[in-house]
Symmetry: C2
């Protein structure tokens, strides 16, 4: 894997000045409160350049996704798991729609995790998560994830401290197993400001075609903002590992969040570098059989 | 539901001269052998007009899909189930990618049915199908379906005649229950010619980046072409009902198959005519709560 591939420098037109996999990565000493949700780290340009980038990279992503899928048919174990976490209205849905939605849906396995059902609650918290781990060849997307069990779990005191710590250990073990199975785990937290959230919630209340996206509980969660920020900081401290790092993406500008996550996905696929699998049949023999088939 | 909505006449630029829901429908007396796979029924124009149409209708479909999803949050039961059947290489994958792939993946539930697993075989043939029926608000897509159990089932003599007949009855009962639950069932068979299949298989053999899509078994199936055509004719005779009709789409021209299936989907959504749900909360009260939340 060359530095060139990493940074997308093979596309001279790329508007990335710095590699998002570096500038957005949660490294030791990371402080969430220091992230400016209005910033656009590493990207040279504004909304217009962002849209151009999104369209250009969608093609690259599409090709690499097809290669990933094809490679799995030849026995390659590789898959990608994109984990999306954020406060309400931060734009997870837009990432799914505009970034993930640009690749072939046949190669995507999307799960939106809601409050656990009674059956799910009767199992350990990772039970429902394990079932949705992407098969080889797939880009799995978790819209919310096992991290809810340590986020809302601690903020809402749904579990005691010992249990939260146990869950952190279980998560580290779980993700480590995924990585050993050649599943690239890309963990993304979209960071908006409380002011931006207020604007977005106000819009949902203002527009009748957006009412269905609003839930009064969103305001209850909003009022726990500092607690959630502290819980996220702890998540980053405990689980941003070498093998499965976190990326915090400033998300007040939707266009920026989209190109950034798109690049993180592209990077994961580039690291895998999936190849078209060799035929597991004799090509010439099959050509002869096709020629001899009397129907065409 | 007005005729205007049905035919897409509200868009003066539409290239459809006749409504695909009428001209492609399997009505009493339908003869599969009479379908010309090279034809483009009802459409005024060629590939260029087809691409323009695909892009234009994608926007309409996208909006209606969002409304369908939103309406389900307000309690509406409606869903759509697109069933795709065809001989190998006919273009099911292209439909999923280019037609279904143009709407928000969060509202799509796609299942590609493969040869049944041991567990699936231990249940009745509809067991695995029932589990993948779309929830309210979703566009479900079956890439292959319960129809394989009467198609390959009879062609390959995997089941005797009594069992095949029992399955037909079970399918009619199953689909009738879906329709009663307000799931619109859109059944599509893509019809290519054996000559076109030969060209497409030859391309897969010619190009190393297509080898992974080829399976020597495809030629075995191809050699049963007349048997499959007879089995499809029987499927149409037995299961093209008023409530859940079949549509046979000539598919030698991929662009035509795509705009035709897109229109069938759009029609199903237009028939539902999903509405943004009313707020189940007091909008003014929530605006006041948001304003009072001290964070923004």
């Amino acid at each position: 894997m060359s530095a060139k591939k990493n940074s997308g420098e093979s596309r001279p037109e790329s508007a990335w000045l710095e590699n998002p996999t570096t500038v957005l990565r949660v490294a030791p000493g990371f402080v969430l409160a220091d992230v400016d949700p209005d910033s656009t780290p590493g990207f040279a340009g504004g909304k217009a350049e962002g849209k151009t980038e999104l369209t250009a990279v969608a093609e690259l992503l599409d090709e690499k996704q097809e290669r990933l899928f094809a490679a799995s048919k030849g026995g390659a174990p590789d898959a990608v798991l994109l984990v999306l976490q954020a406060m309400d209205t931060a734009g997870k849905g837009g990432i799914v729609r505009h970034v993930v939605g640009a690749v072939d849906p046949q190669g995507v396995a999307l799960t939106a995790f809601k409050a656990p059902t009674a059956e799910e609650l009767s199992h350990d918290f990772l039970w429902r998560i394990e079932q949705r781990v992407p098969d080889p060849g797939y880009i799995g997307v978790f819209d919310r994830s096992h991290y809810e069990d340590v986020l809302i779990g601690s903020v809402r005191k749904l579990a005691d401290e010992n249990e939260i710590e146990r869950r952190f250990d279980a998560i580290l073990d779980f993700e480590s197993r995924l990585v050993q199975r050649d599943i690239r785990v890309v963990k993304v937290m979209l960071q908006i400001s409380p002011e931006e959230q207020k604007r977005r919630l106000a819009e949902r209340l203002e527009r009748p075609d957006k009412h269905w996206k609003f839930n009064p509980g969103d305001i209850d969660e909003r009022q726990m903002w500092p607690d959630y920020q502290a819980a996220y900081q702890r998540v980053f401290d405990r689980t941003s590992t070498e093998a499965a790092p976190w990326f915090v993406v400033p998300a007040n500008h939707k266009w920026y969040a989209r190109v950034a996550v798109q690049h993180l996905l592209l990077h994961a696929l580039t690291t895998i570098d999936p190849q078209w699998p060799a035929a597991d049949f004799d090509v010439e023999e099959q050509k002869a059989r096709l020629e001899a088939s009397s129907l065409g």
